[in-house]
């Protein structure tokens, strides 16, 4: 695969180039997290986000929106989901791409390919980038990941010496590059990229030295059963807000409900994100004696979330459910750090 080198301005021009597709770039981090991170690139795009740690939100919402209509009924309308408009997502990290792989296996898996997800996925061009900085919460190297993408992107960008290396990997990617003239990267530049990647890997490994590592789908951590008191102790800090599931790039659970559209009795079926930590998530009708609502205790639900990520998901789809982005750790109002949870319940 040919790798190219380009100056900063060339990449800026690529981002700003008028296209049929809407380009989404990470906006500069907002300490309050109050603005959408993957925002439409309007005005002068900036490359700052590409050399900063991965954005505090993932691009999951671009593929599975927090709320969407799945169709209307009551008036004979067809499905509302026409083909999704083309998009370009810039600045995805290796962890984000791994999360998409998991979402693909679930939402496009048997027995039904989720129409909305498939459409948005097909319409998206993925421009990923190496991490040249990381957050304290990052731990991709502990879960068999690396801080640089190796596959599943259309073009990968490596920030290098003020410029970029560009690695197109698909027709979609080459189309995004268009007819811009690029020089092939020199062997020296490739060596620099590799050593930069090694350094970054070592840095992430080093900051996670105190936590469980070398976790893979084949070799998940040995965790206690969900009714073990260790989980209840961890849950003491959880305030059951669901921030961890909302921020997670690989969480996909959702809820369905109907919304009345007008007086004539037409309905819209709406899908929203849901969270397995909330007490309402598994709730079943009936008296507890007859139909036990599973996992009535918060400790059991926290256990289930962690066990699903690290144990059940590998069994279900062959992939760890956690990509080590650490976003849940940053988002947690109770200060829970998933690495620490893993360490303490395994102790």
């Amino acid at each position: 695969m040919t790798i190219f080198h380009a100056e900063r301005q060339v990449v800026l021009d690529l981002l700003g180039k008028p296209r049929d597709a809407v380009t989404f770039v990470p906006s500069p981090p907002d300490p309050q997290h109050h603005q959408p991170v993957f925002a439409s690139a309007c005005g002068q795009p900036t490359l700052d986000a590409l050399i900063q740690p991965r954005p505090p939100q993932s691009a999951r919402a671009c593929f599975q929106p927090p709320s969407e209509s799945l169709g209307r009924y009551g008036g004979g309308e067809g499905p509302p989901q026409a083909q999704a408009p083309p998009t370009v997502l810039v600045g995805l990290r290796a962890c984000d791409l791994r999360a998409l792989e998991l979402l693909d296996r679930v939402l496009l898996g048997e027995p039904y390919q989720d129409e909305g997800y498939r459409s948005r996925r097909q319409a998206a061009t993925l421009i990923s980038c190496d991490c040249v900085d990381c957050s304290e919460a990052c731990f991709c190297t502990s879960v068999a990941g690396q801080p640089f993408p190796q596959s599943a992107f259309d073009v990968n960008l490596t920030p290098l010496n003020g410029g970029f290396l560009l690695e197109p990997a698909s027709d979609k990617g080459r189309q995004w590059l268009g007819d811009v003239s690029l020089e092939e990267a020199s062997p020296e530049q490739i060596r620099q990229r590799d050593s930069q990647r090694n350094e970054m890997t070592l840095r992430v490994q080093k900051q996670n030295a105190a936590f469980p590592s070398a976790l893979t789908a084949e070799k998940p951590p040995a965790l206690p059963e969900g009714d073990d008191p260790a989980w209840q102790r961890q849950a003491g800090a959880c305030v059951e807000c669901g921030a961890c599931t909302n921020i997670c790039p690989s969480c996909y659970c959702f809820y369905l409900y109907d919304q009345l559209l007008d007086e004539s009795g037409r309905f819209e079926r709406v899908r929203t994100w849901d969270s397995c930590l909330l007490s309402t998530y598994h709730r079943m009708a009936g008296t507890p004696a007859l139909k036990p609502t599973p996992r009535p205790k918060l400790g059991g639900r926290l256990a289930n979330r962690v066990l699903h990520k690290f144990v059940y998901s590998p069994e279900q789809v062959g992939l760890l459910g956690c990509v080590g982005c650490g976003r849940c750790t940053e988002a947690c109002l109770g200060g829970l750090d998933v690495r620490q949870v893993l360490r303490e319940v395994s102790a």
């Binding site: 009924y73 004979g76 059940y312």
Partner: protein
């Protein structure tokens, strides 16, 4: 509310098909039987043990087992207990009113898998509803099976469901039907006691060659399984139906997850060996 509406069967599986309440019958104050006919005229194919997502428009959607004989047909039956928002709303529906149906979902069970065996059905309370689909399937193809035994337990005589079926099954010469109530009343002349007491009254089965279908509340399931195991039945030949809050029915929404299983996909019919592995299943 009654609405005229239609939507093609080819539409998204997240959207309900419209069905009409063709017949309804209140079995007890809490349990009613319904027969639904699809408004689009395109029937449905389902197996014993499968479930539907039932929508009451403007109220919500709930997963409910089918209780009629499986096959390809234009209608289906359900026996529904009023316990939550959707099921209470269902109980107010009159013949001719409409509901939404999605499905059929779940693995279901192909009775041909147990052809040539003795069959033992153990139904407790509302567990008779899903179990009835298996029983009717077996009785409709009686020649495929050896001895057929049906055990049914309810709390009181007033709680008995499908009383017409119970009478018909009791009349049959080609199968055994026994029922009991936990507490009788002045008119009750039948068995009293929990359902496990029937195990001692039923004809002997060939344990190595018997498939048991045990469906009922968790407490009944636990004790009935102990009886079946004591009789020498294999764990893999004891089947049950798990209840969970299936939301999408398509293995995507996560709500029915138990360990590494989505009940709406790999269940709701599991054998006892699988249920033991699931731990929190029952």
């Amino acid at each position: 509310m009654t609405m005229t509406m239609s939507n093609p069967a080819s539409a998204s599986p997240y959207l309900p098909r419209v069905a009409t309440v063709a017949e309804a019958c209140k079995f007890t104050p809490k349990e009613a039987w319904f027969r639904f006919e699809f408004a689009d005229g395109q029937g449905i194919q389902y197996a014993a043990g499968q479930f539907m997502e039932v929508s009451v428009f403007g109220v919500g959607e709930a997963p409910i087992s089918i209780c009629s004989a499986p096959g390809k047909r234009g209608d289906l039956e359900m026996c529904i207990r009023a316990v939550g928002d959707v099921t209470n709303a269902l109980h107010t529906l009159q013949v001719g009113q409409t509901v939404g149906l999605r499905g059929a979902f779940g693995n279901g069970f192909d009775m041909d898998k147990v052809a040539g065996k003795d069959l033992l059905f153990v139904a407790g309370g509302l567990g008779l509803a899903p179990c009835r689909s298996f029983i009717l399937d077996a009785l409709n193809h009686r020649e495929k099976f050896r001895n057929v035994t049906i055990l049914y337990g309810a709390r009181t005589p007033a709680d008995l469901l499908f009383t017409k079926d119970l009478e018909a099954w009791a009349q049959r010469k080609d199968s055994t039907f026994l029922m009991t109530v936990d507490r009788g009343d002045e008119n009750w002349k039948g068995n009293t006691g929990v359902i496990t007491t029937l195990f001692r009254k039923m004809p002997k089965v060939d344990p190595a060659n018997t498939a048991a279908f045990i469906i009922g509340p968790p407490i009944m399931f636990k004790f009935a399984v102990l009886e079946a195991l004591a009789m020498g039945l294999r764990k893999t030949s004891i089947y049950c139906s798990l209840e969970r809050r299936m939301k999408c029915g398509l293995g995507k929404c996560g709500h029915c997850q138990i360990r590494n299983v989505y009940v709406c996909q790999e269940g709701p019919i599991f054998n006892y060996a699988e249920v033991m592995r699931l731990r929190e299943g029952i």
